[in-house]
Symmetry: C2
Subunit: 361 residues, 2 copies
DNA sequence: TTGAAAGCGCTAACAG
DNA sequence: CTGTTAGCGCTTTCAA
């Protein structure tokens, strides 16, 4: 078996408590015993067992992360940001995926709770009505939403929730306003399924805002399955007919925009000559393409970074509270002081958008 | 505090042993006690605490993953494959990043070992001489390399190691042979730093193989920092001069290829008109671009999937062995029966390569 | 089929 | 400054 604190104590000729003390507050041990113990540790190749520590301490210095997928760069970058920040704060990361299936969200969280993670960062399909979040709240586990943007109205609910995101609606509105500014009047939104992503819906609202502000007639969004347009026959028809064809496409994410561009080429249409395409996310490869994909850039890695730091804040604020809570009745202290972090977005201009062809006006 | 098996037992009027039994092998408990216990579990919202179980059982049903970065889609997809497979086998994933710093590899693994993960999947800078792998071996922790490809020669070492990858050298050779087949004779390899990635070196060997087989003069590779060519002034000069300029570029990864194409455009060069560009990795976005990025496709998600399954195999094979080992002396049983999984690669043709312009021949 | 009890590795009182 | 001891949640003999 792997060496434990016990073997170290035995070899050093001290008690296990002394070893533990050295590990936790080195100052409380005399120089020479410290020396002896260090030698034993080195000799045995001892490495403290977090499992024992966690069981005793009731916390694991581990956070859980639940995102839809890693196939979308956006989430990969976010996870990257989380990991970096976690490492800096001496936390570990346990990671899960839902494949955009709302029913997998709960299972993922249950598993993490079994591991007694100290908190959870998640991106859920719909933050508005979500059983998983209720579960987390009931269990009094601190959590922070990433990408999901809490409505301002939620600020009034019993317990405030925390989220880190851009202002999806405003950002989408900016993007569409940019297209309108270029002269586009017939703008179609292409979106991921609303029921798989509340962000998609918020972005559609932003689209509506922009269209209405300009006095233009908004079109219903075309919802498509995960980054593929092949199934959307109504879309294909619309594109085939020059009279119904929009002059610009606004896509709820960059992967969608990229596949849309590919499909348009297959239809023999030029971007931006025949039609402009704008994305959302600002994934790095978009800037390497020709033409550059115009998009709304969200700071994904920073979203992860801020989410983690917010979470750890909450965890460490909750710690003393938990101790206090063991005295009186269940203290109704909110696990997390609701923070709606809205990070700045930016418009990335690119060759994929241009003023509409004169004939279209 | 969260309910434990103890509270459940108390509420159900049985002993904790019985509750534990029900949780582990339900058959060994009478129907009516089972019923009582289930009710208590539901009433209390009890959830087994893995920490306790792990401490007792000595295993955690958790694997550690160490990759250089998630900014490269390749690793994100691999992690995705790992997570999916892990979930199917009821394992959890603890995840870390090294930012391509070899010195961070050990720290990452140390942390994972502290959490008593049952095994580790990693991509290291250099699998040949690597202190981290030695550590893992010394600690008898099963591990599987992903992307790192063990040399056939390693099959003879004391303990065989496991790896899952494509045949980097052969794959690179295929790619360069393809370029040669199109008529290119002056082919330059652009590579990530050899000391940050042994794959890059293996791919360069494949380049040499192809050049030599065709009787062409190979050029030294140009090593560049993580996906940016801006610093490589010698490269800029070579490109500026039509006489020294290669007719084709072979890049050790797709991100590099994409930025190379961007830089070439900035220099006023056409791809593939003035110069062909071929990548390695076959990241999905490459196929969405115009022109499509020709590349060697490696099955990243599958690499993750196979790596995890190989690892779990080893873990579960080691379990009974560990029990047996507590009887006699340290059994010198290799933790893992060295498996060099070589997964098939594929050439993705794309518009980024074409025969060289006649003048160049 | 069930219960009592020991112990996994560690921390935190409490004594000395 | 150091040792003794109890116990975190759980599994697992060993008896009954």
């Amino acid at each position: 078996m792997r060496p434990s604190i016990k073997q170290v104590a035995h070899l050093a000729g001290v008690s296990i408590a002394t070893v533990s003390r050295l590990l936790n507050k080195p100052g409380s041990v005399s120089a020479e015993t410290a020396e002896k113990i260090h030698r034993s540790i080195a000799e045995l190749g001892f490495r403290p067992n977090f499992t024992g520590r966690n069981l005793r301490a009731g916390n694991s210095r581990t956070v859980g992360v639940v995102v839809p997928t890693l196939s979308n760069t956006v989430f990969a970058q976010c996870l990257q940001g989380i990991e970096l920040a976690a490492r800096a704060l001496d936390y570990s990361v346990m990671f899960t995926t839902t494949e955009y299936l709302p029913e997998d969200e709960s299972a993922a969280v249950e598993l993490l709770l079994g591991h007694r993670v100290d908190g959870v960062i998640l991106t859920v399909a719909d933050a508005g009505a979500n059983a998983t979040l209720d579960l987390l709240e009931r269990e009094r586990i601190p959590f922070v939403l990433a990408y999901n943007q809490l409505a301002a109205a939620d600020a009034g609910t019993a317990i405030q929730r925390a989220s880190v995101s851009v202002d999806n609606r405003a950002a989408a509105c900016d993007a569409v306003t940019h297209l309108i500014g270029l002269g586009h009047r017939r703008i179609q939104m292409l979106s991921g399924r609303f029921n798989a992503s509340d962000r998609a819906m918020q972005r559609y609202c932003g689209y509506l805002d922009a269209m209405q502000a300009a006095g233009l007639a908004p079109l219903p969004a075309i919802e498509v399955e995960r980054h593929t347009l092949t199934a959307a026959t109504d879309y294909q028809q619309m594109m085939a007919d020059p009279r119904h064809r929009p002059t610009a496409l606004f896509c709820s994410n960059d992967l969608l925009a990229l596949s849309a561009m590919r499909d348009l080429r297959a239809l023999g249409l030029q971007v931006p000559g025949d039609i402009s395409v704008m994305g959302f996310d600002g994934i790095p490869v978009g800037a390497l393409m020709q033409p550059v994909l115009a998009s709304v850039v969200q700071p994904s890695e920073q979203i992860g970074d801020v989410a983690l730091r917010t979470l750890v804040d909450a965890i460490e604020r909750a710690l003393p509270a938990a101790v206090a809570a063991s005295l009186p009745v269940e203290t109704p202290v909110p696990v997390i002081a609701g923070v709606r972090h809205i990070l700045p977005h930016a418009l990335r201009e690119g060759g994929s958008v241009a003023p509409p062809a004169p004939a279209s006006c």
